[in-house]
Symmetry: C2
Subunit: 351 residues, 2 copies
């Protein structure tokens, strides 16, 4: 499938990805090629990937999977391993994994000896259509997501849809949630077609989602304006995700599951503040509830979630900024929301 | 004194620095202004600085001074404090301190919420003429110096020579060592005049050294070529500094003291490999020994120091790259040195 050009790197899919990787390594004179994996991708993806790569995987570095390991302690471990294995400025880091791994691996590479090259090879649907595209790297600080990081582009992103065969449906749906978001913020037709799907690994849809994210990021790499629209559903979604992660009594939500709730809540806010039609809000709610079910939040939960809002990276001067929809396919940024609407939004979600 | 223009920021000296800072803060609409200090600059420099700044120091953040605190643990503490005090993307961090503090503060700012603005206000001679200029930020990984970091420019650098009054002579000499390096690598006349000085706080000399470093950095911000010349004396100097820091039986050397030794050693290598005259090597050795005295290294010390060389950031593909002098005022980069010359260089230093 044809490649997608970005600012300084390219996204290659399927058979072209393999050729691009081999070519890049052949021409780049790297001193060492490191591959970062977790216990899952080591078992399920690394054998397949090594065949694609040919002979050139000098050192495999392993971290533990999961958002609770996406922190500075894990970075320190990888920095030390790179150093121990004589990584130098001409080393290359290949990040083979989901969003946690590509976010963390990108940050480690961007900061090791003030920056070495890295390539993202996303193995989950979520990271194919979202995390691995756009140059955001980073780790969490306690329960606060992605508080520490830099914006830095990989050399390339390689998408092999065959890795999706290794995933459970719950994981696939988490990526599907971000793909639906791409439709909601930029392309009503894409939303319309995608929301009726019952399998989520269609290569054409993956490509469409990557193209939408890439278009936005190219126009605004450092999130001064347009790029903010990608945060639709994420302001409340991140707070919900953090809350469930740090609360031992709650089941941990996958990223896509949390932002699915966020998108329902923020569509309600869009209706109240920006004229998104009642019908559209219903459509958003029904679509996400159909695929993700409903999660219960009591008054104490909601209070704690709203408290986490103030740490959102998108804020400045103490205000909480939202991305809202004017209509399906059109997003507005930097909207302030009166506090009393939050409880109403949660009530709408629950009803 | 007239300001020095850099790529994306300016270096302001003396009275202009105060005006530039006030103006920048007035026009920038920062949500919060943080000042990072250590226990020394808090006591000796912060009161003076607050007067210059006027009213706008919202939160003072304190770290412990010293190279042994220049690590990720200290970064985590500062990231957490920034987060605790509701730092957001529109916050500003003012780094008030020596090289350890501006390197660490620059890294913390560059990575907090994927990057907030920072301004360096160096309080030591070393950081005025070296560390605060050029956008290198970072911290140590164990005993390996500056292994973790990014290249990112501050909004501006403000130089107030009056802070030098708070320093001991040993500290001043550490900066003087870097100033002498600027002469050795770029300007023979500057070297000639500077090496005869007995006081080290001359504002014109400080300005000359900043201008030399800045010229080099502007031409090559990411150290692909010319910028490497700034590493003269640093390849062996860093290894010596690391060795003394991690070895409890050795007295810790200041950075300038370590690279003074490094410059003598590397001048000897320059004579052996690149034709630097015997007379010039003698001149370099006498100058540094006059100001810094001689440090003893036995065979075991030298062996351990050479082992540390392989972790130098400037290496690639397992070779150790050196900057050597062709003559005083002219440096050459990427020179490989045969291993047997290292012992000869140490012998020359000791004789």
């Amino acid at each position: 499938m044809e490649s997608i050009k970005s600012h300084s790197y390219e996204v290659h899919l399927e058979e072209l990805a393999e050729a691009a990787l081999r070519q890049h390594i052949a021409k780049s004179n790297y001193s060492k090629v490191f591959v970062l994996v977790d216990e899952n991708t080591k078992k399920k993806c690394l054998p397949i990937f090594k065949e694609k790569l040919g002979e050139r995987a000098d050192v495999i570095l392993e971290i533990q999977s999961g958002e609770n390991h996406k922190n500075i302690a894990t970075c320190s471990k990888v920095w030390e391993l790179l150093s121990h294995h004589n990584g130098d400025r001409k080393s290359l880091l290949l990040n083979l994994g989901g969003g946690v791994l590509t976010d963390l691996g990108g940050f480690v590479a961007s900061t090791f000896k003030r920056g070495i090259d890295f390539i993202n090879i996303p193995t989950t649907l979520l990271s194919m259509v979202d995390a691995s595209i756009g140059g955001k790297t980073g780790v969490d600080l306690g329960s606060l997501k992605n508080q520490i990081g830099v914006i830095n582009q990989p050399q390339m992103v390689l998408v092999f849809p065959e890795f999706l065969k290794t995933l459970e449906t719950r994981q696939l749906k988490s990526g599907y949630s971000e793909m639906l978001k791409h439709g909601l913020i930029m392309d009503a037709d894409y939303w319309k077609g995608l929301k009726e799907k019952n399998e989520f690994t269609d290569a054409l849809c993956i490509k469409k989602s990557i193209a939408i994210k890439n278009d936005v990021v190219i126009q605004d790499p450092t999130e001064l304006g347009l790029r903010k629209i990608l945060n639709f559903g994420h302001t409340l979604g991140h707070a919900i995700e953090s809350y469930c992660l740090e609360n031992p009594e709650r089941e941990t939500l996958l990223h896509g599951e949390a932002i699915a709730i966020g998108m329902i809540l923020e569509s309600y806010l869009s209706h109240e503040l920006k004229g998104l039609s009642k019908l559209s809000v219903q459509e958003v709610k029904e679509t996400f509830l159909k695929h993700f079910g409903r999660v219960s939040f009591d008054t104490a939960d909601i209070k704690a979630i709203l408290k986490l809002l103030k740490y959102d990276k998108k804020n400045s001067h103490g205000d909480v900024n939202f991305v809202l929809l004017q209509e399906i396919g059109t997003a507005l940024t930097d909207i302030k929301v009166p506090h009393d609407l939050f409880n109403k939004a949660f009530a709408y979600y629950a009803e």
